[in-house]
């Protein structure tokens, strides 16, 4: 199923930086509108209204109604490890009563653009950040505790688990400040200790705030 899409830009997009092919292939008008850069506007005349998310939930834009929320407005984020280039994965965010036709149209838009699409409930951190941020916090803590050298922790994960890169090199490449911000939002939302940013992320954040 081919779906045209139009783009409405509210600010800088983490998913589709300037020059991204997805931007070039947009139409002036279409049944699917894609809102980039931290803004959204409901439009029930459209098949789907797609809202780019960073660390916020879709409910921030739609409101929530005792678990019955859902409309043609969906969230999405192209997964990106901090300052790394965006990946080829789109996390599509739905609510309990999201419109199925909107989901189908959103999937069609992104798949036609060559992205792998997964569907996540509207939970903080969606799929990936919810799972990897505690792991990065653990790895940073292990480093502090002297379990092994950073290079050996990374080597172990690459060769023992088949990861493309190790957790220390990955979280540092993406930026410890970014990691702090994502982890802190998860921690504030759920209160689970695993989400609490590791000491090294606190240090990086304090330095970026001019306290170093």
């Amino acid at each position: 199923m081919h779906m045209d899409y139009a783009i409405i830009t509210h600010g800088e997009s983490r998913s589709f930086p300037e020059g991204d092919e997805f931007l070039a292939n947009a139409q002036a008008e279409a049944d699917v509108t894609v809102h980039l850069g931290g803004g959204a506007k409901a439009d029930t005349s459209k098949t789907a209204v797609l809202v780019e998310l960073t660390t916020e939930c879709l409910g921030v834009y739609t409101g929530e109604h005792a678990g019955t929320e859902g409309s043609n407005m969906l969230g999405f984020a192209r997964y990106r490890n901090g300052d790394d280039a965006p990946s080829g994965l789109i996390e599509l965010v739905r609510q309990p009563a999201s419109d199925e036709a909107a989901l189908e149209a959103a999937r069609a838009v992104f798949e036609a653009a060559g992205f792998q699409v997964v569907v996540s409930a509207d939970q903080q951190g969606r799929i990936i950040d919810r799972l990897v941020r505690p792991k990065y916090n653990d790895a940073l803590r292990f480093l502090d505790e002297g379990l092994a050298a950073a290079a050996d922790i990374d080597l172990t994960c690459r060769h023992g688990l088949g990861y493309a890169d190790g957790p220390i090199e990955r979280v540092e490449r993406g930026g410890l400040v970014h990691h702090y911000e994502v982890s802190q939002r998860l921690f504030e939302t759920y209160g689970a200790a695993g989400f609490a940013p590791a000491r090294r992320a606190h240090v990086a954040k304090q330095r970026s705030d001019g306290n170093g």
Partner: protein
């Protein structure tokens, strides 16, 4: 001491990990004595090893001559006393401290004083395991990755009483066996399981919390992070019952709530959804061939 390791014993050789370790050892040219309690288990492991080597030849990873030599290096026994001939004994038995301590205690009375003992434990303390025998200076942690016959990495951990000479000898053996050792402290789960057990549990809890389907979680992790396997595929491979045992070994030591057995995992194990080995876990499967070759 490294040059003196000619014969390697593998305890628990009928298990997935033990059979893989035996392949690694035999393939590298060491006489390898596979010990387990039941003959039928050893026979099955032998058949799997033969199949693995045959596939390795088919895929050009091994010559027929090397295959023949590797198979000739493998022998099996159900008598623990036969391990008296070993220079190095690697245990890969049930992940239970008492079981491992008892085994090393028995081996202590069987093997000559020079024999090194290595434990493939993934969660338990090497120091505590070593406390089951008198030669605590000759006990090292040697945690292979699953599937051992394909994965090069080994986490090497000295216990508090392990001598540097023993550790270096064991380290050198892993290199001679073509593996890639990495040193870690003797801490719960070392590196791999300390990261992996809570991570896998988080993935199970995400399924239970309705965050996403198992397939979407695995796809997200593979495509977003570049992992070769998603966490739920991996749990299906290692077995959901094994994941429960890892939690049961890990949580009482660490008291990390993320290491506690997720309720969904307990329910799936109770329902017999144990993963690939039974054809049903987070996914359904046809066939149960040994990995790789």
């Amino acid at each position: 001491m490294t040059d003196q390791i000619k014969t390697v014993g593998v305890c628990g050789a009928a298990g997935t990990m033990g059979a893989g370790i035996a392949i690694v050892s035999a393939r590298a040219g060491f006489r390898t004595l596979c010990f387990d309690m039941a003959e039928e288990g050893l026979a099955k492991a032998k058949a799997q090893s033969e199949g693995f080597f045959a596939k390795s030849v088919e895929r050009g990873k091994m010559t027929p001559e090397d295959q023949e030599a590797a198979l000739a290096n493998l022998s099996a026994t159900t008598k623990l006393e036969d391990l008296a001939a070993c220079d190095l004994v690697i245990e890969a038995v049930f992940e239970d401290l008492r079981v491992k301590q008892d085994l090393l205690g028995q081996l202590d009375g069987i093997c000559p004083p020079r024999t090194l003992f290595a434990s493939n434990t993934s969660t338990l303390s090497i120091t505590q395991i070593a406390a089951g025998c008198e030669r605590q200076d000759k006990v090292v942690g040697m945690h292979f990755c699953l599937p051992a016959q394909l994965m090069k990495l080994i986490e090497m951990s000295p216990g508090l009483n392990t001598s540097e000479e023993s550790f270096q000898a064991a380290w050198a053996w892993t290199e001679a066996a073509g593996q890639m050792p990495v040193k870690t402290q003797d801490k719960p789960g070392f590196i791999l399981n300390a990261l992996l057990v809570p991570f896998n549990n988080d993935a199970i809890r995400a399924v239970e919390a309705g965050v996403a389907s198992p397939a979407d979680i695995d796809t997200a992790i593979k495509h977003g992070l570049g992992y070769k396997m998603g966490p739920l595929e991996l749990i299906d491979l290692i077995g959901l019952d094994t994941q429960v045992r890892l939690c049961e070994a890990f949580y009482p030591i660490t008291h990390d709530p993320r290491a506690a057995t997720p309720p969904l995992l307990s329910r799936m194990v109770a329902a017999g959804h144990l993963g690939r080995k039974v054809g049903r876990g987070f996914y359904t499967y046809d066939g149960n061939a040994m990995f790789g070759g």
